[in-house]
């Protein structure tokens, strides 16, 4: 993580700090200094930030290594949610695995596996032939995201699916300053933090991570050292897709599954990745949290004072546009 603490980054870090403090102050004012409201707003912001990160991290790492912007990342999130929902709610599976907790774990495994397999297929089948033509890769992943959406519509229809089969964690609640908050959401936040740290460790402290980072710098040099960069590419792509799928399935118990969620999370993630600086992992993590918290704060504000929920969904883009104006390559991007 030394990258973001380098001396030349100091001004950026201060700016980030100011933004976070500003958001905190704004939510403090919005909630009228009510600790219960404030903590709930911030927790839901953290939660959104974590979910965004699960989509954005793949986007960022894949871009960093392969210069491919995977527009299908949102589709993987959506597919993960639908598969998790299906495994939890399918009548046959409910008979076969009566324990809802176990079913949820199976759902997670299923979603991750499907995400990984589809990701591998996408990289091998569609992206590999196109490395010489990057614009077509962009276009191809975009096309795939649309096909995925249509396939999901054919299988599950256009009506959103809501989560009705509770398991132990999802029905639990805890109180904070007298306000109730779902335990499960807290668990998702913790899982998100663990993933941020886990992927960071993978990238910075393992041999695979060294290979990946070296590949980011100069893939032909790594190839010359006798390492199969293509295989690493596939691995990273699969990882990114599996993490997005995982995000979808762990979000499903409170978000349900819907056609629109893929695009929504993709846009939030894009905003986060651009904000953080393309290819900067730490930047993506920080920006995801920033976007998540900003969304929650603006949602609180607009519900309380404006009675106009549209601003919440516009927040990521406005934030992104503002930062891009000041810094054309994002907070931690290379100039």
């Amino acid at each position: 993580m030394e990258g973001i603490f380098a001396p030349e980054r100091r001004s950026t870090l201060i700016a980030v700090l100011i933004i976070f403090v500003g958001l905190l102050g704004f939510s403090f004012l919005t909630t009228g200094a009510d600790m219960a409201q404030l903590s709930i707003t911030l927790l839901s912001g953290l939660l959104q930030g974590m979910l965004l990160f699960l989509v954005a991290s793949g986007l960022s790492i894949i871009f960093g290594l392969m210069d491919v912007l995977n527009f299908a990342q949102g589709a993987f999130f959506m597919i993960g949610a639908y598969i998790g929902w299906e495994i939890q709610h399918a009548p046959n599976l409910m008979k076969a695995i009566p324990d809802p907790n176990l079913r949820f774990l199976v759902g997670i495994a299923g979603a991750v596996i499907v995400g990984a397999v589809l990701g591998a297929g996408l990289e091998r089948g569609l992206l590999r032939p196109l490395y010489a033509r990057p614009i077509f890769q962009l276009v191809a992943t975009f096309g795939v995201s649309l096909i995925a959406l249509e396939v999901v519509k054919l299988i599950w229809g256009t009506a959103p699916r809501s989560w009705t089969e509770d398991f132990t964690l999802s029905s639990g609640e805890f109180s904070l300053f007298g306000q109730f908050f779902s335990t499960y959401r807290l668990v998702v936040i913790v899982v998100g933090v663990l993933l941020i740290v886990g992927i960071a460790v993978l990238l910075k402290r393992t041999r695979i991570g060294i290979t990946i980072r070296a590949g980011v710098e100069d893939s032909s040099m790594v190839e010359a050292l006798g390492i199969n960069v293509r295989l690493v590419f596939t691995g990273v792509f699969v990882l990114g897709c599996a993490v997005a799928s995982f995000g979808g399935v762990i979000a499903a118990p409170f978000l349900g599954a819907s056609n629109a969620m893929g695009a929504e999370f993709l846009l939030g993630a894009i905003a986060a990745v651009v904000l953080g600086g393309l290819g900067s992992y730490e930047g993506t993590a920080i920006a995801s949290l920033m976007v998540g918290i900003a969304k929650a704060v603006v949602a609180k504000f607009s519900v309380q004072y404006l009675n106009q929920p549209v601003w919440e969904s516009l927040t990521p883009m406005i934030l992104m546009a503002a930062i891009l104006l000041l810094r054309p390559s994002g907070l931690f991007g290379k100039e």
């Binding site: 962009l138 276009v139 096909i147 959406l149 396939v151 894009i270 549209v310 883009m317 546009a321």
Partner: protein, 363 residues
């Protein structure tokens, strides 16, 4: 097989014009007589509000607006090499501004004010987006434009003042003249031909050459001394204005505007049309747009009967399109026109082998 230069000189001027522009003039003539042609075949009147001819005119207007959208997209994507995922933004802006003005002022004034406002606003929007985002590298630009367009989509979908999800109808606020299908048809045909000629003229001008230079190698163009940023800004603003004009036509055809005009479909469709037809060619986008729109219309209305059950394959359209698209990207990256241009010399050579007496020349 090459005609010697001298023989071109010997031909009269009208003949030379016909040689180079014959196909173009033929199609122009076809479009101009289209309503009467369909009217004569089906025995319906080309004017009025109903009938086969009027219906087919509507279909043709739709194809032409898609073709115009694809042409404007091709200007940035195909000729300048800038990839935008927010083209729908301009399309939707055209529709909403015209619609808003027509609803507020009504009649001819509303439409005129709307057209002027829309063009001014889209110029401003293009410049603004360009200034903010063109310093960004290709992918950043693609993402940024997607985000901005999507922002507008979400905004108009949730804004009750513009009818939220449904948008609003223009029927009562448009002047009587535009209510006649044939007027709108000729308006579209004229704008379509003007746009085609304009883009062709532009691309053969020095500015067009710089745009192509940016597409091929931006750093080289920069080194030679061109302010590439300014040229790109010009290209995206111009493409935006052209898309706005298309959006206005689309709104006039449907006599309503809705948030779907900002939806990513109106970016993806011109993108697909351009790629399938041929990136960076003049007729590729038109061919792609008309061909794919015709295919969509046909497939959507087809019901397959397999034994007892009837299968409506219309709902498979998006998937079919996706497969066509992926196949084209993988196998024919230059699209129909580009592939043809590359293959034509070989085909001619191959055919000429079977024609006696041509061998010596073509070899």
């Amino acid at each position: 097989m090459q005609t010697p230069a001298t023989s071109i000189q010997q031909k009269p001027a009208w003949r030379r014009t016909l040689d180079t522009n014959g196909v173009f003039l033929l199609w122009t003539a076809f479009l101009l007589i289209f309503p009467f042609l369909v009217g004569a075949i089906s025995g319906t009147s080309p004017t009025g509000r109903r009938g086969e001819s009027v219906f087919q005119q509507g279909v043709m207007i739709e194809y032409l607006t898609y073709a115009m959208l694809a042409m404007s997209y091709n200007l940035i994507f195909g000729f300048t090499g800038v990839i935008s995922f927010g083209h729908a933004l301009f399309f939707g802006a055209g529709g909403y501004i015209l619609g808003g003005a027509a609803r507020a002022l009504g009649g001819e004034t509303g439409v005129i004010v709307g057209v002027v406002l829309a063009i001014v606003a889209s110029t401003g929007l293009g410049l603004l987006i360009g200034i903010v985002s063109l310093r960004l590298k290709g992918v950043y630009y693609a993402m940024f434009t997607l985000a901005v367009a999507e922002m507008f989509y979400i905004f108009f979908r949730r804004n009750p003042e513009t009818g939220s999800e449904d948008g609003f109808g223009l029927g009562s606020s448009l002047p009587e003249l535009l209510g006649q299908r044939i007027v709108l048809f000729y308006l579209t045909v004229i704008l379509f031909i003007l746009m085609f000629l304009f883009i062709r003229r532009l691309m053969f001008s020095p500015t067009g050459a710089v745009l192509l230079g940016i597409r091929e190698n931006e750093n080289r163009a920069k080194t030679v001394g061109y302010n590439t940023l300014r040229y790109k800004l010009f290209a995206i603003t111009l493409a935006g204005v052209l898309a706005t004009i298309t959006g206005m036509l689309y709104a006039l055809l449907n006599r309503k505007v809705g948030p779907e005009m900002f939806f990513v479909n109106f970016t993806v469709n011109p993108l697909l049309h351009t790629i399938v037809g041929g990136i960076g060619t003049f007729i590729g986008p038109i061919l792609g747009a008309v061909g794919l729109s015709w295919l969509e219309r046909t497939i959507r209305s087809t019901v397959l009967t397999v034994g007892e059950s009837q299968i409506n394959i219309g709902q498979w359209w998006a998937i079919i399109l996706g497969v066509i698209f992926v196949a084209v990207v993988l196998i024919f990256p230059y699209g129909v026109v580009g592939t043809w241009n590359r293959a034509a010399p070989h085909i001619r050579k191959w055919i000429s082998r079977f024609l006696p007496g041509r061998n010596a020349e073509s070899g």
